[in-house]
Symmetry: C2
Subunit: 672 residues, 2 copies
Amino acid sequence: MRAPIAVPTPKDPGGGYTHEQHKRNASLIYDAGQMYRLTGDADYADYAGKLMLAYADVYPSWGLHPAKKEQSPGRMFWQNLNESMWLLNVSQSYAAIKDTLTPDQRAKIEADVLRNMADFLSDGSPETFNKVHNHGTWATAAVGLTGYAIGDENYVEQALLGLDKSGEAGFLKQMDKLFSPDGYYNEGPYYQRFALMPFVVFAQAVQQNEPEREIFEKRDGILKKAIYATIQQNYGGLFFPINDAIKDKGIATRELLHGVAIAYDLTGDTGLLSVAEAQGKYVLTPESRALSEDIAAGKMTDFDYRTMRLGDGETGTEGALDIIRASTDPDDLVLVVKNTSQGLGHGHFDKLGFMVFDAGREILRDYGAARFLNIESKYGGHYLVENNAFAKQTIAHNALVVDETSHFGGDVELGNQNAPVLGTFTDTGDLKITSAEIDTAYPDVLMDRTMAMITDAAFPRAIVVDLIEAHSDNPHQYDLPFYYNGQLTETNFKITADTTVRQPLGQDNGYQYLWRVGTASAIEGLSQITWLLDRTFYSVTSSVPQNSNVIFAEIGANDPDFNLRREPAFILRTNSLNGVSIASVIEPHGEYNPTVEYTLNSHSNVKSVQHFETGGDDYILIETKDGQRVGLGVSGDMTENAAHSVSVDGAVMRWTGPYKLFHSDRHQSEGN
Amino acid sequence: MRAPIAVPTPKDPGGGYTHEQHKRNASLIYDAGQMYRLTGDADYADYAGKLMLAYADVYPSWGLHPAKKEQSPGRMFWQNLNESMWLLNVSQSYAAIKDTLTPDQRAKIEADVLRNMADFLSDGSPETFNKVHNHGTWATAAVGLTGYAIGDENYVEQALLGLDKSGEAGFLKQMDKLFSPDGYYNEGPYYQRFALMPFVVFAQAVQQNEPEREIFEKRDGILKKAIYATIQQNYGGLFFPINDAIKDKGIATRELLHGVAIAYDLTGDTGLLSVAEAQGKYVLTPESRALSEDIAAGKMTDFDYRTMRLGDGETGTEGALDIIRASTDPDDLVLVVKNTSQGLGHGHFDKLGFMVFDAGREILRDYGAARFLNIESKYGGHYLVENNAFAKQTIAHNALVVDETSHFGGDVELGNQNAPVLGTFTDTGDLKITSAEIDTAYPDVLMDRTMAMITDAAFPRAIVVDLIEAHSDNPHQYDLPFYYNGQLTETNFKITADTTVRQPLGQDNGYQYLWRVGTASAIEGLSQITWLLDRTFYSVTSSVPQNSNVIFAEIGANDPDFNLRREPAFILRTNSLNGVSIASVIEPHGEYNPTVEYTLNSHSNVKSVQHFETGGDDYILIETKDGQRVGLGVSGDMTENAAHSVSVDGAVMRWTGPYKLFHSDRHQSEGN
């Protein structure tokens, strides 16, 4: 507040000086308003008012921004999204301090900043304002908050019901459409976090100004559900990086600081105090202050991290994000299966893809977005060309690729129209499992995938079982990538490494960004690969068709600007006339302890994985090196009471219902 | 202690079952002995005695280990080093519990385990026992501790004075030879940590049994100095990874747990309590317990992390490790310059090399050793072939390479004979600086390097200045690598990337392990490269000869077993008829904050770096983008009172003594 005021004429794109300065000013105005509200110290109000007046002097003269973005341009910023964010902050501050201003000052700020900008963002930008999309929510929230701040009900009505107040657009429609009944946001958690901010902030204003609207009770408490769903979608404090996600975003972002504080205010759930403690910082609101006070008062309990299916789509029927956790410990093994719908323009083409997390780290990972947010020298902080060309493509994910092409041919529209069909999601403690299938990702291929987390005494820790199948009457090449994180330590085959020349793995659909670094042949239909990350070993043991190959790859070919991270993968490749089945066990094991100098169980405990099929029913048999056998039955028909049987090595394995875990003898003899 | 005892017949190498089981038993015996000492609970003594008796039953029958290592083999373990470690633990436990055993039991354990093994390690392995080397120290300490434990002064005398008790070998000789007067161990901190354990543990026994020897006072308190020197050589809790270092070893290793506890017992330095807290764990000794009690009692103060020169060699005249810290904050900017001697067989060929650390991370890094310690599938846990072939070679380091060959032609003996000649080491607060030169690394090239850390108001943080010169009358190619850690964000030139074919950078001397990933030309003698690591940007701006090239490289070519980490580097390459001078500024700057979504100062603040020379004197002029000028004078003659001058852009810059920092106008006007 001692520094001179700087309100520069708009010039730079995201990350540049004028962009950052206007963002900084919005934060200053917001914080000063909040500090005035919390302390009553007039210096804060004076400062906020002075800055608002400085904007009133110049804002009306600003036309469209010179560096306007591909999307809807702003005037202060390159895109009007930033303008909405600015107004959302400033209008709240104005509400807090307006009583300290003279009538002339109020008139000037209201006319030349608040109304001028609100008009630009509403009537002046109908394509954004009326859009059922997060940019629309920022715009409606900003305009609605302005309405409450200056006492103009017309802005509030337009914000809630759309420009024509019909209810066909606007904030309430966005509440209905943008979250699934489980509170999942269909672009994924990275954008969910971002979208959440205007929802919770404006909803809180609605609640305070018009409690009779009971906005937090609408749709069975959808906004509370959305906050909880966002929290559930983090690992190690960072969001599951599906779709266009910047990986270092997580629960400590400003949006979630507000979200958690408001949720705690609404629910009193002391588990949220654990989340607040993990966030490690606070915002200048009474709700956030209450969090810190209640943590200090010792009210904190563990947050209830859960195994859960988050249905996707307005009615929860367009796929789901399936989250399977080994325990409530947030750093324990987690499997995330992406059975969601496409997720609009920020969606990736990775149907039935998955990620595994363990020990606080990504183990089998998703690339996320190819973008350096706010870093000017990296294409101005925009999404990089490699985002569409690589990061969105199927081969960039742990998802099945047919004939080196992406799902839906890389067509977003086609993707948006076709979600996976979900199988049953079950959590019985020892067996947590999900299935899904999709026949629209490729014209003549039905893909289905069942992924389970299993606890059995044959393994010291929980393991993941993966059965992926492609059904087709035509010959195809099938590639199943595993983007492993760590240093390769062991394989059951000899790798022919590309030691003196490296070339791209393919020409198109993302393949051109992968170097081929080695090839191998699976041994008698078995591929076993072990790597080390930090202190834990991980093995993937897969039953593959005879003559399958294993390709080792690394991201970074055709990357003239050094835009991509160098990350390794192995790819199980099969050519087949009539589909493919691959059953894999993903197994965390052992310990490498460099401090005390010991290494335990650096080898996989899996001797073999076999896949048996009878009719439409499947049985995966896992044999351990010490002779234990664990089985998993998966039904072709998900009906609750249907009987199933599969012939396995001469015996017949029978069960009822969608799935059945057959424990090892050791598990049973130990009385589990 | 409830589990059944297992004393398997020796079979496996390091990392294998029998190896790990015997190590585990030694820990159990040691811990049980210590627990008996601390608690007086007879169960612990019984258990330790039972395990020792189990060994007495079988040890005499064991011949040399079937998987014996290249080095001196053991009987219980593949190398007798492990056997020394086992005896060091067990003899201490025996001393603690022997009064609880019957005379028969004592006789059996002493004859069939302690004496049997001590004889094997002393008279039976003279080449190790009499060697002035860390394996020798483990052997002498183990045998000496056995002597105290069973009351046989002969073992103690042999341990202290060598097999023939002449004093030409043995522990006291090792104390004289293995540490420099500053407490530096000439293989570097990774082996220093390891070597420290037997020194401090046996010395403590000598102190307790024969205080009249005043062992901790010998050589001006050399063992205390060695402990402190080891601590000073860590960053972020991990040792500076020079020479054959496993990177994840640091102050939390068992050796340092003992070392810090014993040092605290000897000195009462409460700064050591900070180190103990950072270690985060304790060993079962009264000294370690005292640490935890005094931390709990609030006696802890900051450890005095210092800018210091650690002289190398028995008399401190064979080079030095120069450590330059921006502040006492252990996570602040640190520059380490490796002006040491070769460091025997574990030394790397990286004369005048350096590393930079910041924000808790490696910024410009050393590869360390190519080895997966104790991981059987990685060449049995041994040093990998890539260790000699790549990790030790000069091109694997931030050190000058001439004609794509390593220093001393990669000849360890030649390296051991030739240390750098040191210039003055100075710390004046704003200027911390060191110089060294060497004319033996290459037959016809004299290399010298001056590295400084500078604080000036023209830069918000401290910066590093590097002046490296090679003097030669013959044409050579000079390569100066920078192994940067992070994602490239900006260069002042266009890179021609190897986007569709990658080939090794060279054929030999480590070059064959580098992929060339791009090339560029410096612009008018200036190369500026910026990268991002975590939340900070780093730039290296270098003044290079006209027509110099910049090569971008990545580790991982010719690596059929996926043994090497994929790490990037850029290499400044110049061909010259008569030597080369390269002046660089290494500059941490800006902040990338993905949580709050802002980016500050992502561009370097350096506009130009220029190098002026008059006679043997040098002047480096740094101009910032906002017009500030900072200069550094470096004298050819290091005499304290000699006058120097260099012509710089028409002006003459004068100073007296080895170095002079010429501050910016801003620095002076701000009254600094």
